[in-house]
Amino acid sequence: MSKISRDEVAHLAGLARLAVTEEELDTFAGQLDVILESVARVGEVAAQDIPPTSHAVPVTNVFREDEVRPSLPREAALDGAPAAEENRFRVPRILSEEA
């Protein structure tokens, strides 16, 4: 397995929406490298024909009756919001200036 580079960590942080600092990039690159080297041991197991398990309880399509039930009142849903306006969540701009 290839060693994880500082640039790769920066890419991962971008994907994960983490505005990490320069110092963190160094720390995480070193730590992730050690961790990945250790967990890569799973690759030693010959498992070509083994089916993967994603879940201990293999259930599919759990249905319930389609009944109208009370949902969260608007005030309760907005109560924990960082910002709300006109009974809605207020969010920062989602389009760039040029768009």
């Binding site: 929406r17 505005a19 961790i35 250790s38 799973v42 690759g43 960082p82 969010v91």
Partner: protein, 511 residues
């Protein structure tokens, strides 16, 4: 049996939940008195232990008054009505903050209750407050809490285990007779082991995850924590059972765990086959832990159990598989903390984009371990690495499940040490994530396969005088076997050493 430990505080806080329930039933003690005693104990020792992130004195006393009123009217809500409990801060509670030990959720009060919180209320159990934990349940020492570590009541310079260190420490400090934890890779059992208390990870799907802040959804499982096996069983029955709000909840009768604990306490394990996991010994195990484990195995054999050695060849790959699967699921689950609908928002100055605010918030709100795991999971799931990491880990998960299936064709339960060492010193492993992960070595296979396991105190390690846990593992939906074997062992161990292990805990300094 009545516990009146040296470290137990008042007479009421020293009682087991079962004993306290008896006294409540007979009218000898009121729920308000019992709750008051525990709140006083928290006020006296939690400055040192820091098991709680939030104590709800008013709510607890109101719940206690309700329990007393119901009993006076001749309709107590359950056998545990009026008994106080400490709830891990990972469960949504509409009347208390729910922080998961994270700055991301500081002060957040959820708009709804988790099923566990609701069942506790329905049972008349008095929730004293919310307990400290590693941030989003990621850790083995509670040092990853954004609100400072919890200290082990056996030695306050040592870790209480994690992620549910607060719940386990609250029991050992006699701040509560019952607690609730969640176990994704050992977060109930490992803290139980290092604090000399009992912790159970029920069969996956046995207890509802609704309203449990998700870390790794295919592994997370709520469960009971207590100072005795019977107490854990009583709590298990109060919270377990099918819940339509959790689609992975098992729709089948709850195993009769309280009856199994009572049967086990009679002390006869004739006809029970116990398998010792060969792979969980040797290098990396503290000698005192191994000696305590060997003594426990000898005790089981004395009780009539047939003990054999069992090989589970793929268990040695469990740690690697877990630290790929759990971070992968976490990276997806924690994407919900996007600074838009609830929780922290940083940098929203009117000029920054949603994406910039999101990235700044997550950077500010998450601690180092959470960031590490999110990036590790992002890596394991990214194209080019998926097959080698996440895909291969899922195949190993299948092989570990098969190891269990083969083992349980030969034996009724498997046993191992719960964790390779006793409580390590605070700060010892914080700079070395991999060393921290090793604390979960023996507990992880059960989470991957979805079956049930318990940690029960097996005594003190002879080299450092700190508690050791015996892990008992059973097949899925055979949780009752844990309680039968656990209670038989506990009774025999207590009898042989002259009393419950918790009675030998040093007294905490009282404020």
């Amino acid at each position: 049996m009545t516990q009146t430990a040296t470290g137990g505080g008042s007479e009421l806080t020293g009682l087991t939940a079962a004993d306290l329930a008896d006294r409540l039933a007979s009218g000898e003690v009121s729920a308000v008195e019992a709750t008051r005693a525990h709140l006083d104990r928290i006020a006296a020792v939690d400055g040192t232990v820091h098991a709680f992130l939030h104590v709800d004195e008013e709510g607890a006393l109101a719940a206690a008054r309700q329990a007393d009123d119901d009993r006076a009217a001749g309709r107590p809500a359950s056998p545990l009505a009026g008994v106080p409990l400490a709830l891990k801060d990972v469960f949504a509670t509409s009347d208390m903050p729910t922080t998961c030990g994270s700055k991301m959720l500081e002060g957040w009060v959820p708009p709804y209750d988790s099923t566990v919180a609701e069942r506790l209320r329905e049972a008349g159990i008095v929730v004293l407050g919310k307990t400290n934990m590693d941030e989003f349940a990621m850790g083995s020492s509670t040092e990853n809490s954004a609100y400072g570590p919890t200290r082990n009541p056996w030695n306050t310079e040592r870790i209480p285990g994690g992620s549910g260190g607060g719940s386990a420490a609250s029991l050992a400090a006699f701040e509560a007779p019952l607690a609730i934890g969640t176990d994704t890779g050992g977060s109930i059992r490992q803290p139980g082991a290092v604090t000399g208390t009992v912790g159970v990870k029920p069969t996956y799907g046995g207890v509802s995850r609704y309203g449990l802040v998700a870390f790794s959804s295919s592994l997370d499982q709520p469960g009971p924590c207590a100072r005795t096996v019977l107490d854990a069983a009583l709590l298990h029955e109060a919270i377990a059972g099918h819940d339509p709000m959790d689609s992975t909840s098992i729709n089948a009768p709850v195993p009769q765990v309280a009856a199994a604990a009572r049967e086990g306490a009679a002390g006869d394990l004739t006809g029970v086959k116990v398998g010792v996991v060969r792979e969980f010994a040797g290098e990396g195990y503290q000698p005192g832990v191994e000696r305590s484990f060997q003594a426990a195995v000898a005790q089981l054999s004395k009780l009539g159990a047939e003990v054999v050695e069992i090989s589970c060849p793929h268990f040695e790959y469990a740690l690697g598989a877990y630290y790929l699967i759990a971070p992968s699921e976490a990276s997806s689950n924690l994407a919900r903390f996007d600074a838009m609908r609830y929780g922290l928002r940083v940098g929203d100055d009117g000029t920054r984009s949603a994406e910039e605010v999101m990235s700044m918030t997550r950077e500010a709100g998450f601690g180092p371990e959470v960031k590490r795991r999110i990036m590790l999971g992002t890596y394991a799931l990214s194209s080019g690495y998926y097959d080698a990491y996440y895909g291969q880990a899922q195949k190993v998960r299948t092989l570990i499940t098969r190891d269990f299936t083969a083992a349980f064709e030969q034996v009724d339960v498997l046993v191992s040490p719960t964790t390779p060492s006793t409580a390590f010193p605070l700060g010892e492993r914080t700079g070395d994530p991999l060393a921290m992960y090793l604390a979960d070595l023996c507990t992880i296979p059960v989470n991957l396969a979805g079956n049930a396991a318990m940690s029960v105190p097996s005594g003190l390690s002879d080299e450092d005088g700190l508690p050791v846990g015996l892990q008992i593992m059973a097949p899925a939906m055979a949780d009752d076997r844990l309680y039968r074997v656990g209670a038989a062992y506990e009774t025999a161990r207590d009898a042989a050493s002259g009393g419950p292990l918790i009675e030998s805990i040093p007294a905490l300094e009282v404020a």
